[in-house]
């Protein structure tokens, strides 16, 4: 079956160049990067070269990059690493669960947390962050771009508020990396999360930027790896892959890849809006990442649409799945004020660098007829007027 993958916010296919870069470190160059002999030196050099690539992608010093097992660990380290019982955290209602559930755990262990709300477009109002500040506020954690809608948060303004108040700023840039210019000096954040597999690197890899001068308590204790911020023998092939993916993301960004993705996304959105009635783009009017669109189709269950499209060869998703794999209404869309049935009628399409105009046209050849079939058989559609 011809298959097209438009779920790149979940994960991206590994670039062949990345695999090639990793390959020697599975077999020939197997040394422990902490060993003093030749084998160790060889892999140490590879790890540090990868660190420089990641540093180049986000515009920081290599020493400010901590390698982790992925976005979730980076978010956890950034949050648990600086907060102590009695401290106050400000975050938003639309964060990824890696931040939200970390915040919930903090609440249960003696920290205070304020979740600032978003408007109908999915954006926080920086003024709300300012108002939420307390004498014991230690950290603001706000995502750079939302993983379900692609909506960008006003991080620069939040950074000024954080700086004025002398509190740390952490941002989850897992989705933004490779799609937005990411200079930590310009963002003025103290902590920033990226993930390897969202930028065509390997799963199980990620990094946390920790600004020089910021101390994070490790979550994993052991040897003095990663400057005592994350113990454990380095995942050398993974780190090498992350480094290569970061370099490719940087090069792609300089080539104008973001613009190309934006054009594909616009083609997809316009094509769907032109051929499907009662379809609505979530987050419209807010600045958004170029590669994500989240669309509600009135009168359908997104769950059925995802399955029906998958059976026809198109991979898309809804925002959230529970542990059984069943779909739950998205907390992000609910926070934006969508009713439960609207949230459950929403699909995310996310493009990657491998996607072409033909891929978008394949989606456009399937989505309208599939939505029509769902609506024809839906007890929700046409029986009463669907008011939005």
């Amino acid at each position: 079956m011809h298959r097209v993958y438009l779920d790149n916010s979940a994960t991206t296919p590994l670039f062949p160049e990345v695999l090639e870069a990793m390959r020697p470190y599975f077999i020939d160059r197997f040394g422990n990067a902490s060993s003093i002999h030749h084998h160790g030196q060889e892999t140490r050099a590879a790890v540090e070269a990868a660190r420089e690539s990641v540093a180049a992608l986000i515009g920081c010093r290599a020493s400010e990059v901590v390698f982790t097992s992925g976005g979730t660990e980076s978010d956890n380290l950034g949050i648990f690493g600086v907060l102590r019982p009695g401290d106050h955290l400000i975050t938003s209602t639309v964060e990824h669960h890696a931040v939200l559930n970390a915040a919930k755990h903090l609440e249960a262990s003696g920290c205070e947390v304020t979740y600032i709300r978003v408007d109908g477009r999915g954006m926080v109002d920086p003024e709300h962050a300012r108002q939420a500040l307390r004498p014991n506020t230690k950290l603001i954690s706000l995502m750079m771009a939302n993983n379900e809608t692609g909506v960008l948060q006003p991080i620069a303004e939040i950074a000024m508020i954080a700086a004025d108040a002398d509190v740390y700023l952490h941002t989850d840039a897992v989705q933004a990396a490779g799609k937005l210019p990411l200079r930590v000096s310009e963002v003025a954040c103290d902590l920033l999360t990226i993930s390897g597999h969202k930028i065509h690197g390997p799963q199980g890899t990620g990094a946390l930027y920790v600004r020089k001068g910021v101390t994070v308590e490790p979550m994993i204790y052991g040897g003095r790896h990663e400057r005592s911020r994350r113990a454990g023998t380095e995942n050398v092939p993974g780190i090498v892959g992350l480094g290569r993916a970061a370099a490719l993301a940087q090069a792609g960004f300089e080539r104008g890849e973001a613009k190309r993705l934006g054009e594909l996304r616009d083609r997809l959105e316009q094509g769907i809006l032109a051929s499907v009635e009662a379809a609505h783009i979530n987050g419209l009017g807010a600045p958004r990442l170029p590669n994500i669109t989240n669309i509600s189709f009135d009168g359908i269950e997104a769950e059925s649409l995802v399955i029906a499209l998958d059976l026809k060869g198109l991979a898309v998703s809804t925002g959230a799945a529970c542990s059984s794999g069943a779909i739950e209404p998205s907390h992000v869309l609910l926070a934006m004020g969508l009713r439960s049935e609207q949230a459950k009628a929403s699909i995310r399409f996310s493009l990657g660098k491998q996607n072409t105009k033909e891929d978008v046209d394949f989606a456009l050849s399937l989505v309208p007829e599939t939505v029509a079939r769902l609506r024809q058989l839906s007890p929700l559609w046409g029986k009463e007027s669907v008011v939005r």
Partner: protein
Amino acid sequence: MGERERRPLDEDRKEKKRMSTNTIAVAMSGGVDSSVVAALLRAEGHPLIGLTMQLWNQRRLAGREGMPETVTGRCCSLDDVYDARRVAETIGIPYYVVNHEERFEKEVVRPFVEEYLSGRTPIPCSLCNNHLKFDQLLVVSRQIGAHKVATGHYARVEFDEISSRWLLKRPVDQAKDQTYFLFGLTQEQLSHTLFPLGGMTKLEVRELARQFGLVIAEKPDSQEICFVPGGDYKAFIDAYLVEQGDALPDTAGDLVTTDGKVVGEHAGIHNFTVGQRKGLGVATGSPLYVIQIKGDARQVVVGEDKDLYSRTLLTHRNNLISVETLDRPMRVLVKIRHRHAGAMAMIESSGAGAIRVTFDEPQRAVTPGQAAVFYDGDVVVGGGWIA
């Protein structure tokens, strides 16, 4: 991406056509029966889609007062989803979990609680069949391109040329007969339903599971109500109402005899079911049974065994299967609970959509909230809810 996998278009078209004409959705619970259904249909060459309905979060009430701390191996538990997924992988079919928790709560759990609080004894499995498995799941299945839904129920469905009606019939394995829970299926639903196990015995099904090499071949059968762990429905009702923020409605009242004499008190009518003997808290010479529960008056009527027998009952919210209408009285076998052997009776319309059942011999413990299902030999004539 995908260039390497691209095949000539006509092949794609052929596959699409094949998928759209005979694709079957299999409702997979992770148990032996539905797993064998999937494997059998796969072996017969049908394009299949495996679906598991996520109906209830077993962890939701876990640990509340009276409820077990942990729940494993129950319907809708992660273990069951895992099993269903493994089976789908083994036989090589696409598999998805569909979330119907909201509807299950609205159509099954809430009515279950409300029926008990009104002094009736509900059958959640029938509600689930009517509103979820053969309704919502059928809609989803048709939406995603399947034309029929197959389940692991022990029952048979056949089209009768003479009457031009879809018939629901008892299975070959009478001990596993599940037709009592399926009386609510409409003609439309039956026309889209397959019961591939209707011609087999449970022993044969288990043997097939072994032959197909399914990991769940030795998994025990599930018996209890899937969302009530441990089978303690009273604890469930309490825990559910607390979770919902509703205080348990006070349904305490008097225990009275059949001639209206108050002989004691009770803590709530939902603790009783017709025919119950234990837990009445009244000591008398002869054994006492619950004869009737008067919801409005909060009275539990108690009496002797002989008082439990009645010759007639009325059913409402009826569904007829083998006949379109009940124009004249009909002689049938009637089952008034799942484990009831059945008794001969006449059924006739009784105005306002009700059906009057008149047994040849008085029947013990006719229980409001349960179903009366009518049989003509192996054929299910229809059924209704006992008023």
